[in-house]
Subunit: 284 residues, 4 copies
């Protein structure tokens, strides 16, 4: 997506004529739609749309102002100018495979984001971040509730300073408190090391080994106050056998975690993920 | 898709406003769009659309007549009334797994087609067809060119009598002559027992064994005069190992053939497959 | 496996020299091993083996008698003469896709079993069984406990009359009572319509829809008294999207159920599945 | 595989008793086998084995000397002491995703190799290598035959200085001359950006786009004088759609290249890959 585009996403009650109205809005302004995705959820009666319009001579602020006039009050919508590159803050603990993979993608310039900084509750991954020229903030997390809360406040301050489009929990082994889940709703993206809803809770690979499953997986989801229960963006699995120990499952599973997070995060950054309740619409 | 719908598919040159016009056409008539897919191919400048509209009170013939007025001459379009169930003729030789699978799906009423009849150039699969209450036409294929041509004429006559939406080559081991490829263009669907373009020509599983590949596959494609080279509708692969003999590959591959044909044919029957040149757009 | 083989499976405590002893036993008798699989489970210290020996001139009963002498008391072993074809009884309710698929495979003679009979607690699938020349036993299941128990006794009597190698629960929607689970331990094979341990209990596709997963799956497992919790033989998944309704998930999932059962059952019939605790070793 | 093991691999003509003899050899010396894989190729009459023995008190050199006595002349065998860590030289051009991924795995200490150095025919990836503390040798490749030959001689000198277990062509866009293919036979591992044998030759992603395939893939294989035709170690595929441009295919394909190379190379480093003719046995 090298060309500049304006990307509109809309969620609103479904009714007759809505596809025509949305596309008509841009047609009336000479806008060239080169991606248009629509979905109606029969169960909820909700309508979802994503339109990607070539920027051309159109003025972004004017289009946005006009669409704000045009859109009904019932619509939940966003308009994104792709010239405004997406910005992420990445939170880590000790395991570096997801961070390493994301930084590699960013470094190759084939990933639609800039990384504002990396925050870790251990020092282990500082060299990895700094090797990519990124600021690394070490925020230690004490075990006690008060200390942990202060640590989260410090993290939040750093995050909010950057006003990021994505807060990526790239194997960040601390549970976000409810107020941060709420503040960062639809932006905090977690990679969970199981094929949810299997093996919620601690040590999913050990659970998977004990249960004797033949496939293990990973799940990229929005962080919510219901731990492990946020809207799922992407999942995938890898085949394993009786030969694989819990340690093998961890190693094998890292490949699933890495690719699932990279895919899910890309879609989020490109505004391809629309959330309603506990479900997601993925326009990819 | 139990509710009655009208399904429009369009291929035409891309230009500004076309999504709005198409959706506006139905909005103006009170049509409720519940699936809308669009695609622009930058390389060719072609635009592709599929819209599914709830039939409601709309009169099909009137809508069709009005759309014929409305559509520009450059558009290649079709409008399908889902109340008009899709009809297929299935051609077979000796291997029955694809036929068996398709008849099972039809029998369970979860597949959007009726089978007009089965035609075989051997008698082997007559009992299978007849067990499902279907007429079976045995048309033997001699080895000589004249005899073969006469056999094809006989097949064509039976097929054309039914005016089917799909001519399914379900492991039919005879190569369609060019005139039939042309006559049945976009309707004759073949299942090829390899992951095309690998292993074109005879005995693909033996070729796959010799080459030592780690995955084997199957390809569902439209039959064209360029053998094994028609537009691909669907493909899939299955993992194999050094333990698998050519016979094992054949057996394992049958599962890929069966599911790939079932998926590809379903999309064709639901007008989700749009062809341009040697490529397909799949709105699924 | 057209050639006649003797297949030995062994589970015993691991110790030095055991691979040599097992293979030496056959070498001493001029036995040609053409498949040999071994596995040591470090956690339990258990050793697992499967050897496939060309029958050649070896006398089966003599080999079996000699191996009984040879094998230590701590070994749990079986010796199977592949000339003794495997026999299955299939239990069904109303959904026919798994039955249809298995009967197709048997009919094509590429599946290593004979079907002794089909038992159904509804009449729906009688025609399918009878079209394949199979006896169909209708055993209605009343809702009350006493009636249900009598029905199970009737089923058990029919099953046990055939002394089958596999009791296949091919979408049989009744829960086996504990005594039958125990009597048929290691022989009763169920296909569960979810990627266990996700979505245990009723209506897994509806649960999957509600949770918004991006892959649905199926699980082939041995039936045990812990419902949905028996040793897993095989699993697989299929990708779904936000477009798929619960009904779509059911339809799509049937393909996973069918192939997973067919694969898992084949391995069981070929003595490739060794169970310990709640885990399986699959020598495939 | 943290414990020290001795790993034996053998290829020899198949005959009665060979599994017993091999395992007997170690049993006689008190060797504890904890992985044992055997395979007989019926077509060629060849026998393949891999045994992993706990080192314990066994002396490696003595075992090797005794096995050399024991092994028949017809056997092609190797014995590896896992305490001797595997060493690789990595060759690159400009694309860094495979190098980046491998260095990440090595850095996480979950990959069984040390990297001796990285050689590149461009300077682009020097920073990536040096960030991981690795020597980077820049060897420019002129277009003329004489200059190219001299460049290859320089590369060969660097490689051979390290006597590596693997020469990894990690998107190295130069074709090895026949003498190097021969010298490095069974050690030079290439990642090819297509699902071979599809799309041999230049620009496979463009070929894939033109052909309209629905899955793209990557192939890890030994480099041989028959370009793109060496023994295949591992392959995998990723689903693509009509929406994906050739550029998209390249980007998506990089994920397949990365994981396929990482898997295939791991198996090679663990002596799990046995080659015969153009096929491989993978004991994984």
């Amino acid at each position: 997506m090298t060309q500049r585009h304006y990307v509109l996403t809309v969620i609103c009650p479904d009714r007759t004529g809505i596809v025509a109205e949305l596309s008509g809005f841009f047609a009336d302004r000479g806008g060239w739609v080169d991606e248009a995705d629509f979905f109606t959820d029969d169960a909820s009666g909700k309508f979802f749309a994503r339109l990607s319009i070539r920027a051309g001579d159109l003025d972004f602020e004017q289009i946005r102002a006009e669409f704000a006039e045009f859109a009904p009050d019932t619509a939940d919508w966003k308009l994104w100018d792709t010239a405004h590159r997406r910005k992420a803050v990445i939170l880590v603990t000790k395991e570096g495979h997801c961070l390493h993979d994301l930084l590699g993608r960013v470094g190759q310039r084939d990933y639609p984001m800039d990384v504002a900084c990396v925050i870790g509750n251990h020092e282990d991954l500082r060299p990895m971040a700094e090797a990519h020229g990124l600021a690394y903030h070490y925020v230690p997390f004490p075990k006690d509730a008060v200390g942990k809360r202060k640590a989260f406040d410090e993290v939040a301050e750093i995050v909010d300073d950057h006003d990021p489009d994505a807060i990526v929990l790239a194997k960040f082994m601390q549970i976000l408190p409810p107020d941060l889940c709420e503040k960062w709703a639809g932006k905090a993206i977690n990679i969970h090391h199981s094929f949810l809803p299997s093996f919620m809770g601690a040590r999913p690979y050990n659970q998977a080994y004990t249960r004797g499953v033949k496939l293990i997986g990973a799940t990229c989801h929005f962080a919510t106050t219901d731990l492990d229960d946020g809207p799922i963006i992407e999942q995938d699995v890898i085949r394993v056998t009786h030969k694989d120990s819990p340690e093998d499952l961890k190693r094998i599973g890292r490949d699933a975690e890495t690719t699932v997070l990279a895919r899910g995060l890309r879609w989020h950054l490109e505004d391809r993920v629309l959330v309603y309740g506990n479900r997601t619409v993925i326009f990819n």
